[in-house]
């Protein structure tokens, strides 16, 4: 259980990471304990995947104490474009 919502996470991540795209999905059926997020930000440039994930984890350090299941995909704008193209 947590007091967090997808909207709250999106707003926080967008603000703290200057993200150009954030999508958070509450997969907990409303209890707020399980989220998956996609984040696209320039701040990820030049970082390895582990470093990107660490950056996101540090922004959500407090929240992750309560959110027990958290899945993230973190992309630079360039990587995100590629991902979008592959989907088509």
């Amino acid at each position: 259980m947590s007091k967090y919502t997808a909207k709250y996470l999106e707003e926080k991540l967008a603000k703290e990471l200057d993200a150009q795209y954030v999508q958070a999905v509450d997969e907990s059926d409303g209890c707020g304990g399980k989220f998956s997020v996609v984040i696209v930000s320039d701040k990820f440039k030049g970082l390895k995947m582990l470093q990107k994930h660490r950056m996101v984890n540090s922004v959500l350090a407090e929240e992750l104490k309560e959110i027990h299941a958290f899945s993230q995909k973190s992309y630079t704008p360039e990587e995100w474009e590629k991902v979008q193209q592959e989907k088509q």
């Binding site: 995947m49 027990h68 299941a69 958290f70 899945s71 995909k73």
Partner: protein, 158 residues
Amino acid sequence: MAGLIRQVFRSNFTQRLPAALAQSHRFFSAEGNAPQTFTKEVLQKLVNTNKVVVFMKGNPEAPRCGFSNAVVQILRMHGVQYDAHDVLQSDELREKIKEFSEWPTIPQVFINGEFVGGCDILLQMHQSGDLIEELKKVGIESLLLQEANETDNKKEGK
């Protein structure tokens, strides 16, 4: 989560797993370790005990969390031998390993004593092929690579 597991299982390779691989890991329950003080030094030793070391919920035969299960399935596909530690057996281990790796969630995967990431990262490494490379660096040939090579050889033989 269900989607994630499905993604892992979508690989054709899962269908042809040798039964012998079922015993590919050493499983440690934290209960057996005395004294139960997981200092930095103890944890460092623990992650250096095998080339691949996993901290998970449950054990590889019976993972007790979807993310831990995904890690087990991925490593199984690659035929990796690894040490598994069940953090549900010890609250202390569960907290201390998070501090040790500065990572807030379980499962956690270490290769050659170095923290690699959790489920998301391992899954992405698996999909991108990076996992095969990382394993190669520590002298482990991925089963997927072996199978790919065998297929190539057969083709050339024709």
